[in-house]
């Protein structure tokens, strides 16, 4: 890529970065322009990529050259979804939606149970004492107690009184700690994103950092 194109690309990146960040100070027409440009570019890129990397090779090679006529079934099913825009035949799109729902349900029933339930439940079978490391013993106890109490919190068919009430309270505090950790990680992620842009602006664009 020529140096001119790299320079133009860098300046375009800098322009869009500054304009998009300007939204936190005040909503402005340049921000709206940048936002729409980004959304449009991303959508257009996705369509072009899917067409050139998947649809065209599938149709020209597999369908027309190799004669895999069974591919016509998913192609027609996929095209039927666009009938939603034509009111008299919009009902045809239900076939595609039902097919996708059926596949999705089948996947969930067949595949989700072991990794998301069995393996996770098995991970709570931890030694509560005698591991040889006192900190590991404490961690395991906190983990098991926190998990059980959090699950008890979601037993809404029993009134939260007495023992159930106290156990639910422990579960609630455990979840609050977890949400606090999640919030902290979210803040860190957003700062990291902004850091990346600042590194570009100060480094690649202005040359103030190496």
């Amino acid at each position: 890529m020529s140096e001119t194109m790299v320079t133009v690309g860098t300046w375009l990146q800098a322009f869009f970065t500054i304009v998009l960040v300007s939204a936190v100070f005040k909503d402005n027409p340049l921000y709206r322009f940048a936002e729409h440009t980004y959304v449009g570019l991303f959508a257009g890129y996705g369509v072009a990529l899917t067409y050139f990397n998947y649809i065209r090779p599938n149709v020209t090679k597999n369908l027309l050259t190799d004669g895999e006529w069974s591919l016509l079934i998913p192609i027609i099913l996929g095209l039927l979804i666009y009938t939603r825009y034509v009111k008299p035949v919009a009902w045809l799109s239900r076939y595609t939606i039902c097919f996708q729902l059926g596949i999705g349900s089948g996947y969930v029933l067949a595949k989700d149970f072991k990794p998301y339930f069995v393996d996770q439940i098995r991970a709570t079978f931890l030694p509560l004492w005698g591991t040889g490391d006192w900190w590991k013993d404490v961690s395991n106890i906190l983990f098991v107690v926190g998990t059980v109490c959090s699950l008890v919190y979601f037993l809404f068919t029993i009134q939260k009184k007495g023992v159930q009430g106290k156990v639910s309270l422990v579960g609630r505090y455990t979840m609050m700690i977890a949400f606090g950790a999640a919030f902290g990680n979210t803040v860190m992620a957003r700062v990291s994103l902004f850091l990346g842009r600042m590194q570009f602006l100060l480094g690649d664009w202005l040359g103030l950092i190496k």
């Binding site: 899917t50 990397n53 998947y54 950790a181 999640a182 990680n185 957003r190 850091l195 950092i209």
Partner: protein, 278 residues
Amino acid sequence: MWEKLTNIDRRWLYALMILVIALALINPVGLAIIPSAETKNVYDIIESLPPGSIVWMGMEFSAGGIPELMPAILSMIRQGWKEGRDLRFVCAGMWQMAGDMADQAFTTLKDEFPNKQYGVDWVNIGYKPGGEVLLQQYQNNIIETALGVDFYGNDLNTLPLMKEFTSLKQADLIAIFCTGTPGEKEYIKHVTSPNNIPLIESAISVSIPEIMPFVQAGQIKGLIAGMKGAAEYEVLVGAPGSATAGMDAQSFSHALIIIFMILGNIGYVLTKNKKQAS
């Protein structure tokens, strides 16, 4: 005074944050970076792979994940290609920019490893639509599932690495770089759990609380947590990069946020008491 503090215009806070980050980036202090156990696991797992092992790199992110994930990708390739290791990488993804992200990573390292050949040491299959169904199909036949072409339009049948690596089940390690769904859950469900292939992940910080149960259950063997994890990994590999450079700025910005939160809460409590008293 405290009332003014609780009602301060947020634009001043944003401006202060930008100033702190800019100053920290221009004049870094060099705060210590101590690798965590999860990052060390990733490093150790890569180190334990025999030379010539094939690593599947799942590029499940778009441009928004570059600051946090690209440093980890570069470090992993550097670790895999250092003297005597000669790991081989096959990159693909369920996200649209998977091919572009892999291309960016290997292009960045092109001059550092001039002897590494495309098609022999690494292949970029890129994005193919299908989501988790794709992962299922890659386990049967990669070339057929990818319609025989890689990200650059090359015929996969002509690439020496792909003649040997025909199914995802043959991967010695699966390393994924995720910013959301589809991501690690799909890999665990379809690939690593049924086939017992070790899985390591680099994820953005916002996903970490969601991923930790899988790490705790041993379904994910190692985790590089966001930019901080990437900085730790860069330290372990011995090649400090953009993640390490950003750590001072991240620490100072977090300290600033904590100060804002403390002042805000003190102001809230004092003004609340004052209102109750009056």
